[in-house]
Structures are given as C-alpha cells and as structure tokens.
C-alpha cells in the first residue's frame, strides 16, 4: 500500500506542472501592426509634430538675440595676446553696436567661443572634484598637466579646465543720446546651476578665504589667485565664483556659449533693453587667435523653449510632414491591397 502511494506521488512529480508559465500559455497580449492602430497613430502623431513644429518656430522667432564676434574688432588686443610675454599688459577694446528692436523681459548676456574644444578627452578629465569640494585643497590628483607649479606647490584650482578659464571682462553701456552713457547694471548671480553652487563647489572652511588657500598657488594662466576673482563681491570668490563654476561645466561641442551676466532690471532697463546704441567695453585677456578660435558676446531673451535655435522647430515640422506623407502613402497602399485581397478572395 505504502509503495503504491509512493508510486502515485512519483508519477505526479514526474508529470510536468500544468502551469501557464511552464506550458508557455501565459496570458499575453499579441501585438501586431494593424491598420487601425498604425494609420491613425501616424496621422495624430504627425499632426502633433506639425503643430509643435510651428509652435517651436514661432517661439524661437520671438526671441530677440544679438551676437557680436569681437575677435576681429579687437585685432590689436588679439595680436598682443598672441605673445605670452605680454601676459600682464592690459588691453581694452570697445565694440559699439545697435539694437534695432527693444529686447523685452529678462535679457541674458553670454560669451561665445568658436573652435574651442572643451570636450577633448584629456581636457575634460583634468580636474579634481574633491579639491573643488574644498575638503582637501592640496589634492591635485587627475589634474595633469596642471597639478603643481615648478616649485612643487599644488595648484588650486588644479587642472587644464580651470587653467584655461575665460577671463575677459565685458561691460555693457547704453547710449540713449550720443553724449550720454549709462552703464547697464549686470548681475553675476543666478547664472549657475543650483547643484553646482551648493553641492559641487565648496570653499575650504575658514573665516578668511586667502588663508584657506595658503599652501596652494594659482593656475599659471591666471592673473589673480582664486580668492581674488571678484574684488567687488567677497562672497563671489574662491571655488564659489560664479564665472568659475560656469566655466567648469564643460561644453559639449566646440562652439558654445556660456551665461556671463544677467541684465539687472532697474531704472531704464526695468522692462528689458530698449532699442538704441550700445557698446561693449571689453578687457581683452583671453587669447583665442593662437588656436584659430573666435569669441563673441551674445545678448538674448529666452522663451519657454530656450533660445533662438530654430533647429528643433524645423525638425518637428519636417518630421510631422514626413509622417503625414508616410501615413497617406500607407493608407493608399493598404486600401489598394485590401481591394485586391477582396477581389482575389471573391
């Protein structure tokens, strides 16, 4: 008897389980491309893309943007900077320009570099985030070739990125009349990412910033040490200097613009920049002609879709159009084939 019951159990255990999983009968939805799903899908998506494309183009068109490349305008300075021996010589350059239309709302000032490869592999890795956290400012690991100066003193901030920081000063002046000149108030705050300013970059903990950086030296291309970057605002110094933080977020492509200043909306500029004559007063420090680069300034308003880039709008419009075209041809093919099938079946 006992053996028998064992046998029964044995038999049950040998028989594969009748589960949906093991028998490959899991309840499932079989997907296939039916005309009822594909064609309406194409038409609606196409319509959405067309609409979005128009919207994006309109929005990009609404952006007021002025770009001035000043390398050639300041050719004297550019020449001067090509020679490294003139490192400490000042060179200023004034670039007048005209804003034909009022730039309403918030206006942002960017500097733009052409042919500057911030994305070179060896360049992008030449930094030390631990040092920039202010925890261990003598940590210059990974910063080759700018780890230490010739005396062996660690560089702070170390690395090629920091060393090559953009160091032109650009001031904007407004000329309501040919004789009157108003300096446009510029804000250097609010130009960084919150996470960069509050997490990624920290000054060494100390009451006195210069003493916190003792034992380190400035990068070779810098004129001033890192704790004297902004003489006007003591808070905007050290690793927390806004321009420094912006520079350290390396650009993806060799032509890029970085936010430099925001127009402070006070006085005559409460509603943006009025149309009229302006000029940039540039302290030309950053050499670009040595590597066949160019630099410029951009003044721009923004909308919900960002800057004045038409690419996205055009791409959406094109994609939408192509989808409609495809949808129409697919419908035609489908109807024709259906007809033929019906004919052949009957």
């Amino acid at each position: 008897m006992e053996r028998n019951s064992n046998d029964v159990r044995g038999l049950l255990s040998r028989m594969p389980d009748n589960t949906a999983f093991k028998q490959q009968r899991l309840p499932a939805w079989r997907s296939h491309l039916t005309a009822w799903a594909v064609l309406p899908g194409f038409f609606t998506t196409g319509a959405f893309f067309l609409g979005m494309g128009i919207l994006l183009i309109l929005s990009a068109k609404s952006v007021k943007e002025i770009e001035i490349t000043y390398t050639s305008m300041c050719s004297n300075c550019a020449k001067l900077r090509e020679n490294a021996s003139n490192f400490y010589k000042e060179c200023t350059c004034s670039v007048p320009f005209f804003i034909p239309e009022k730039m309403p709302g918030n206006v942002y000032m960017y500097y733009k570099l052409h042919n500057f490869y911030q994305n070179l592999r060896r360049y992008t890795i030449s930094r030390n985030n631990r040092q920039l956290l202010g925890e261990d400012i003598t940590n210059v690991e990974n910063c080759a070739p700018f780890q230490r100066d010739s005396n062996g003193i660690p560089i702070a901030p170390c690395g090629a990125i920091a060393n090559s920081m953009f160091n032109d000063t650009i001031l904007l002046s407004y000329y309501p009349h040919s004789s009157t000149r108003i300096n446009v108030p510029l804000l250097s705050s609010g130009i960084t990412w919150w996470t960069d300013k509050h997490i990624k970059f920290q000054n060494p903990r100390s009451n006195n910033l210069p003493s916190a950086f003792t034992g380190t030296t400035k990068p070779p291309y810098w004129r001033k040490p890192v704790y004297q970057l902004d003489p006007e605002n003591p808070e905007n110094n050290g690793f927390l200097n806004n321009d420094f933080i912006v520079w350290m977020r390396v650009a993806a492509l060799p032509t890029f613009k970085k936010l430099y200043r925001r127009i402070h909306r006070t006085g005559p500029f409460a509603n943006g920049l009025p149309a009229g004559n302006y000029s940039f007063d540039i302290a030309y420090n950053f050499p670009v002609t040595v590597f066949k680069g160019e630099k410029g300034v951009v003044l721009s308003t923004v909308t919900w879709s960002g800057g004045s880039n038409l690419f996205l709008g055009i791409a959406y419009l094109t994609t939408g159009a192509v989808m409609w075209l495809a949808a129409f041809s697919m419908t035609a093919v489908h109807l024709k084939m259906k007809k033929r099938n019906i004919v052949s079946e009957s």
Binding site: R14, M15, P16, K22, Q23, Q24, L26, W29, R30, H32, A35, F42, L56, Y108, Y110, N115, Q118, N119, R121, Y123, N129, R130, L133, E141, N142, P145, F146, A160, N163, I191, W193, W194, T195, I199, K200, P220, R249, V250, A252, L253, T255, K257, L259, F291, S300, V302, W304, S305, G306, G307, S308, N309, F311, L312, Y316, T319, M323, A326, M330, M337
Partner: protein, 1125 residues
Amino acid sequence: LSGGLSSSLNEEFCLDDNNRIHTSKYNVLTFLPINLFEQFQRVANAYFLFLLILQLIPEISSLSWFTTIVPLVLVLTITAVKDATDDYFRHKSDNQVNNRLSEVLINGRLQSEKWMNVMAGDIIKLENNQFVAADLLLLSSSEPHGLCYIETAELDGETNLKVRHALPVTSELGTDISRLAKFDGVVACEPPNNKLDKFTGDLSWKDNKYPLNNEKIILRGCVLRNTSWCFGMVIFAGPDTKLMQNSGKTKFKRTSIDRLMNTLVLWIFGFLVCMGIILAIGNSIWEHQVGDYFRAFLFQDEVVKNSIFSGFLTFWSYIIILNTVVPISLYVSVEVIRLGHSYFINWDRKMYYSKKETLAEARTTTLNEELGQIEYVFSDKTGTLTQNIMTFNKCSINGKTYGKLFSPLKKIFPLLFSYNKFQFYDHSLVESIKLGDPKVHEFFRLLALCHTVMPEEKNEGKLIYQVQSPDEGALVTAARNFGFIFKSRTPETITVEEMGKVVTYQLLAFLDFNNIRKRMSVIGTNDTFEFGGEGLRTLAIAYRDLNEEYFKEWFKLLEEANREFDKRDECIAAAYEEIEKDMMLLGATAIEDKLQDGVIETIASLSLANIKIWVLTGDKQETAMNIGYSCNMLTDDMNEVFIISGHSAAEVWEELKKAKEILFGRSTGFTNGYAFCEKLQELKRGSTVEESVTGDYALIINGHSLGHALEANLQSEFLEIACICKTVICCRVTPLQKAQVVELVKEYRKAVTLAIGDGANDISMIKSAHIGVGISGQEGMQAVLASDYSFAQFRYLQRLLLVHGRWSYFRMCKFLCYFFYKNFAFTLVHFWFGFFCGFSAQTVYDQWFITLFNIVYTSLPILAMGIFDQDVSEQNSMDYPNLYRPGQLNLLFNKSKFFICIAHGVYTSFALFFIPYGVFYNLAGEDGKHIADYQSFAVTIATSLVIVVSVQIALDTSYWTVINHVFIWGSVATYFSILFTMHSDGIFDVFPNQFPFVGNARHSLTQKNIWLVILLTTVVSVMPVIAFRFIKVDLYPTLSDQARPLKSHRRQPRRTSSRRSGYAFAHQEGYGELITSGKNMRVKNLHPTSGLGKTMYNSTSWIENLCKKTTDTVNSFSLDRTVKL
C-alpha cells in the same frame, strides 16, 4: 605490440597507477586558475582581457577599467558557477565509483577493498550482477569450461549478453583460493588503448605461453550476468582501462546560427578596426590642422607630439570605446535563452508520455534553434515508427483464417486472456481448440516447441519468457494463451503443458534460423510419437513426421557434415535442406508490429512542412515497404516507386540510370559515374533540377545496393535521385551505413538533418546528424544516451519541430537582430561624436552608463523576448506546417538580415547623435542658464537611447506576457532610478571623482526642450521601422502574418491509401546453437540458487555464424554486432 604491461602477483612490478579515476577537472585549489585559463581561451573572453589591459595604459585609456571589468567578471562568474556545479557532480560520481567495494585477493585471503585501491596485478573476485572494477583477465568462473556472461551496455550500448572464456589452464584453478594466490603468470600485452573489441597479449605461466585475445578479457564497465562468481586478474586499472580511454571524446555539435554568429562577430571586429582607423586618421589630420595649436594653448609648454603617433594612440583608445559593438554579453545571453527553451521542452506536458512516465528531455541545451531549420529527418523504423511490441493477431490453420483486424464499425469484444493483456478478436479459434481439432492442436504445439525462448520461473510460480526477438516472444505467448504452455527446457528436452497435461519432448536436433534458409526446425520425440516440425517464424508453420531410421540416417549425415573441415557450412546447409522438405503446411501466423499512435499524422504534417523523411531500417524490404505504406509514405497513387536492389555496382548503376531516365526523361542523360565532382558541385549549388520534376516518386534501396550507391562514383547520382523522391526508404542497412547516408546529405545538401531512433544501431546516425533524437522505448536507453533530445513517442517529433523548434529559431533570430541593432545604435554615437571632439576618444555617455547599458538597462527585456516570444500560437504552428519554411530557408537571420539590423542601428545612432547636436548647437535653458554642456548632452543622448531601444523592443515583442511588461517597464524605471541615484548629492559627497554628474538628471530632465529632443529622437528612430513593417505586411505578408489573424482549426490529414499493417519478420539467427550445446544451461544440482538474470544468448557465436553464412552482407560489419529487427 608488447611490453605495455607485465604483471605478476608476486613481483608486483606493474604500472604504478591504481584504479582511481578522475573525470573531474578541478579541485578546490586548482579551480580558479584552471577555470580562468580555460575561459580565457575563448576568443570573446580573451578579447575583453586584451581590452582590459589596454585600458590600464594611461596614454590610451579612454574608459575606466570598470566599464570592461564589470561585464567581464559577470560573464566569467556565470560560466565559472556553471562549471563548478558540473564538476561538483563529477566529483560526486567519481567518489561513488572510486569507493565501490570489490573483493580482492590479498595475502591469500579475500578482502573487501575500495575500487580506487585495486592495482594492476591484483586478483579480483566478481559476483553476479556486479560491475567490473578494472580490465581483467578472466581466470576462472562458476560456469563450466570457465565461461562467463557479461553485459556491455555501459561500454558500447549493447544489451545482449556476451560470453567470455577463461583459458583452460586457468579455469582449472576454480575457486581454490590458495592456488589462485600462488598464481604467478605474467601478462605481456599491448599498451592501453580504446579499442573495445581487440586485445592482444600473452600469458606466460609455468614455462608455457598462452595467447590472449578479447575473449579472455572482461572490461571495466561491464556487468557480470548469469554467472555466480568469477576470478580475474587486473590488467589495466583506472585511467588505463578501455572504458576510460574511450570517454570524453564526445563530438561537440554547433548550430548553424552559432557558426554564423562567429563569422558575424569577426566581421564586426573588422568593422571595429575600420572605424578605429578612420577615427585615427581623423585624429592625425585634426591634430595637424587644429590640435597642435590648441593643445599648445591648453596644456601650455607640453612637448608637441607627432600627429601620426597621436593617431596611433587614438586608434587604441577608440578600440576601447567602441568595443561594445562586439557584445560580450551576446554569448551568455544566447546560452541563457537556449537554456530557457530547453526547459520549455522538458516541461511540455504535451510531450509527456504518461504510460511510461517519460518526459521529453532536451539533453543538449545548445541546439534548440536548429530544431526550427530541419530539412531532412532520418528515422529508424522499429521502435521509432512502430511500437516494437509484436502482437499475434491473425492466424490461418488448415486453410481457415482466424482473427480479424479491429474494425471500428463493428464492435467486436476481444477475448481477454490472463497473461500480458493479450487480445485476440476471434472466438472461433478458442472453440476449435476446445473441440480438439488436431490440426489446431498441432499448430500451437509447434509454436510452443519451435523457438529459442528461455523460460524463467520467478517466485510465486510466475513464468517469464526471456526472448531474443519480440516476435518470437509473441508466438510463444500466443501458444501459451491458447493453452500450450512452454514450461522449461534442458539441452535435451522441452517441457510443454498441453491443455493442462505436461508433456516432455526429447530434443533430437535443432536447426537454427538463418538468413539463407529463412527457417528454423526442431526435431524431437516423446514417448508416444515421433515428431518433426519446421517453423518458419516468418509466417508459415509446417511439420513433418519422421521415422526413426530416416532420422538416424540423417543425423549421421549431419554429424559427418559437422566433422567436415573445408566445406562444413555447405554440408550442414545441405543436410538441413535434406530434412526440411516434404513438409505438411499447418498454417500461418501473422505478427503485427503496430505503428505508434499519431505516426501517420506526424509524417503527413512534417511532409507539409517540407521536411523530407527518410526511413533507414535494418528490416527487410517487404517489411519496410509495408510500413511505408501504412504510414502513408508510400501511396498507391505514386507515379513510380524505384526499387534499387542490385548486388553489384554495375547493377546499382543500371537501376539508378533507369530511375533517372524516368524522372528526367532520356534527354537528360546520365553521367558515366566518374564525372561526379561536377555533379556534386551542382548539387551544392542548389536544387534547380528538382524543381523541374513533378510528381511523387519513392526510392527504396537495400543495404548492399546502398553500399555501392555510397561509393564515391555513384553517390552524387544516388543523392540526386533520392532528393527528388518524396519518400526514401533504405532497408537492411547497417548502423555505419545509416551514418554514411546522414553524412552524405549533410555534406552535399548543406541541409540541417535530424536523426531519430531508439536502438543501439541508431547511435552512429544520431551522433552524426546535426540533431539526434532518441526514443526512450523498448530497446533500452543507449540511443537516448547518445541523443540531443529524447522523448517516448515518434509523434512528439511534430511538436518538437513545429512548435518548439520553430519558436526557438524565431526567438533566436529576433534576439540576434535586436542585439546587434542595439549595440550598434549604442556604440556608433561615439563615432559621430568623434568628428566634433577632435577625435579625442571622448565618450558620449557617462562611464557608468556604458558599464550598465548592456547588462542592466537592456538585458532583461531582450531575454524575455528571446525566451517567451511567440509570433503565432502553438495551435497555429501545428495546423499550418508551412510556417516552418522560413527556418529551412534560413530567412529570419542571415547575412542580409544582419546588414539590415546593422543599418538600422547605424541610422538610430545617427538620429541619436545629430538631433541633440542640432539642438545643442545654440541652446539655452528656460532660465537662460546654459544647458549645452557635455554632461547634459550625455544624459540627453543616454536617455533617448534607453527610450528608443525600449520602444524598439516593445515593437519587436509580439507576445506581451506579464514578464515582458515587468521587464520592459522595469528596465526604463531602473534606468531612471539609477540615473537619479548616481546624480544625487549623497553619492557625490562620498565619491566626487567617480560620480561627477551630480544634479545633472534633475536639471536636464526638468527642461522642456530636453524632453522635446528625446521625443523627436524616439519618433524619428522608430517611425520608419513601423512604416516599413506595416507596408511589408501589406505588400509581402509572410505566412505567419497571414496565419496570425486566422482562427485555428484542426485539420485531419487525409488518408490517401488503404491502410496496411506492418507485419514484422524475424530475420536473424537465434541462439539455437547455445541451447543445443547446453553451454548456457545451468546444471541444476550444482547451483540451485542461481537464477537466470536476463536474456541470454551467445551473441558472439551467432554473429560469427552470421558473418560466415550470410553472403548477402556487403560490409561484413562485425563491429556493430547489434542487428536489429
């Protein structure tokens, strides 16, 4: 060859190894080094090791070491765990074997000793049913003449018993321990080898030399049967034994997809090198034009390097970055998918045979997708197509026919007998027996007498018949059921219980069956009357009354014939002919070997799937043809059935020529048989000729003709004709020929072949075909052990191929397409980016993303698709065998498909890079802050990529189970959660240099235009795919597209021809010689306890006789002894 071993008991100078065996590869200490060494011998792993080394060179390293080491370690670990488990089980079995006990003669006493301690030169005592511990020289045994019986199933798969003789001088030693202990013979023999059927050596003992051959040797792995004890001296121990010398040489089968995959990986590798070269040249140019100045600016006073050298370094850097086009996880994923498919086969209840509790089993887990590409099936007949259960269901006695075939129209209740569930559908026969019809009695008496069955009385008085062939058993069992019970036999007598009365017959002569006479006779007497009879086991039963004088005269003749030296066989045959004449025909029997259930339907269905089925059988032509008709492979409305049965090459050539003329008409002509090279070339090129031939043809060829047809000058003609024919049946073929036919088709048709069989004689063809299937049936497990797949019934083949095979192939192809697409889309973005980053080998993505993309973000959805996907339901794949065609034509994954996948991947990578590029060119955030930085760019492209490939896998998945949902949605969710984790403040605080992307995800992914980029990229990448697929379904619908919407309905295959049943015939010599010689009879009073273990017959002697007597065997194939019905 001598000198391999000289051993003697007293001197103990022998090979120093003991009997311990190691099949395991590792131990705890050696596992890691050896396993790693083995793994790095694989090209893929070695390649990644190479990459790892490259990454450690700082000048080149463009990726952190962890991007390669994480996947590599994962892959190595998975494989190592698998190897370790396998080895653990080998250790376990080794230990079990090594610790088996055996009785060894030590210091004049028998002692139990572990197998591993047995040394060459030891004398071992074996008992009945024990496994043999080492290769032994048989010294003496319990049986007369020093005979002993062994079963060699573990060695060569043959279940029949074999006889071994001890030398007369040693058999005298008997069981005398003291004399055995003094035995000091020296054996000189050949060195250890793997030839199971050969042994040469000699024994020097007491100043005499005795030659030794295989007959004196018992090999390790055999089992002693029907012999209560025997003594043997160990000649070879442990790894020197023939069993061990034979092991571990299994041929490794690879699928065609495997081979294609390897080629493609090489191509991809070439492609990778090309990309590297392009980028390196680009780098040299860039350095020359721009980089020199720019670098001088960036890195100040750095020594300006040669731009060519910079290009060289860049090449290696790009090889590292772009290495993901050669996907390391490919091989592991493929293995996982195949394993999944194998489990589905094992779990399939529809391939479970409840009567025998047999599961279908995927014994090899690496061949599944090949099951979806089979073009030729080579099937054994007996036991594969038929049940190999012989039933006695018709007889004709004295002109009256008894027994009807079961007819479904008229329900006839079968006679039920107490034994063996025997059924017979005719009551009148029982009536005749009761009435005492003498002819009927004579008929059954004859059946009970004329055979070679051995009876065995089990406890409780149960009578078991040990039969050599199932049909013989069927006849004796039938006689027993009708009241003529064969009780026992001695060399001189046969005892039969006739209708309750026990009668003992004197056995005077036994004329065993052979293939020339095709009959067998027993001449016997009892007290009352002389009796002579002849039983043609085939069908007819006849008898002859002999008077004593005639018999004595004839017997003298026979004895003379036996003494004859030169023409002994002829004389004996003549003597047999003399007495086997003037017989009275009593009647005839019909033994049926029934077809298995569902064979007809399966064959019909497989034919519809364009799978050609060739039957290769050891049976004779008539039987094979009958089976062919009964399973509809041959039909009455066939245009022509070619029968090739010529005895010489010329005849075969003539017959083939005729067949060809009928097929093609005379115009085509026939090559002279020596221009075969061109012919084979043609065959290789394709099947253009076949298309021109219409109509159904069948080819039947027998063994000796096949021998000629397989010769080099005829094989092309044979193959050509055979491939045109709808049905090919090869009968009376040897196991070797079976394998040769398979090889021929494999080689010249470049087709995927499957061999299915159940017996030891099918092993060679099972091993040589791409896929071997074993039927776990009547003939033991040998075929199963050699097979790749096994199940209990032929009909499961339909499900294995049409459902499991088709799905496996379909899934694997989809998997590969997607896998290559995915990796190209992923990797080529770096290539495009190279043109915008000064070819500096800068990666587009975060390094962690590169590490995790293949193994975390995208691995599970593709595995789920590879394991669970179904294009059509199983019912549809069974109902529409045409759906199998794409696999045979290799349509779903081939080189052009591969290029399409690659092109798709390249296109996607293009969209993935250039759309964000266009947008980022002059981009500002909504708050005016710049967002066109490298990190945002990386996150945007990575997110787009994950979404695009997820949408793509969603499109490719045609069968959305819960698991697919979980994996696909889960992967996207995992991506985002890992992304946010790695970009979080916490992890940055701990590892600021490893996770520099802090805050990036939350900043970028809250920007509207980033999402617009992702949406655009996704639509642009996926839309063309949908459009193309939709149009393709409309314009060129595949079969599965058409089958999908159809409601499944069962179609009954039509039966085109009248059903014939397959009657089986025995055609093999029995073991009458052994019976009459009495050699295998136990002398009762000597060993009253020993019972018959198993079927016993002297296979060696009948095989010898067979070889001597049969003239019709072209290849006297003495190695493959098993000749099966």
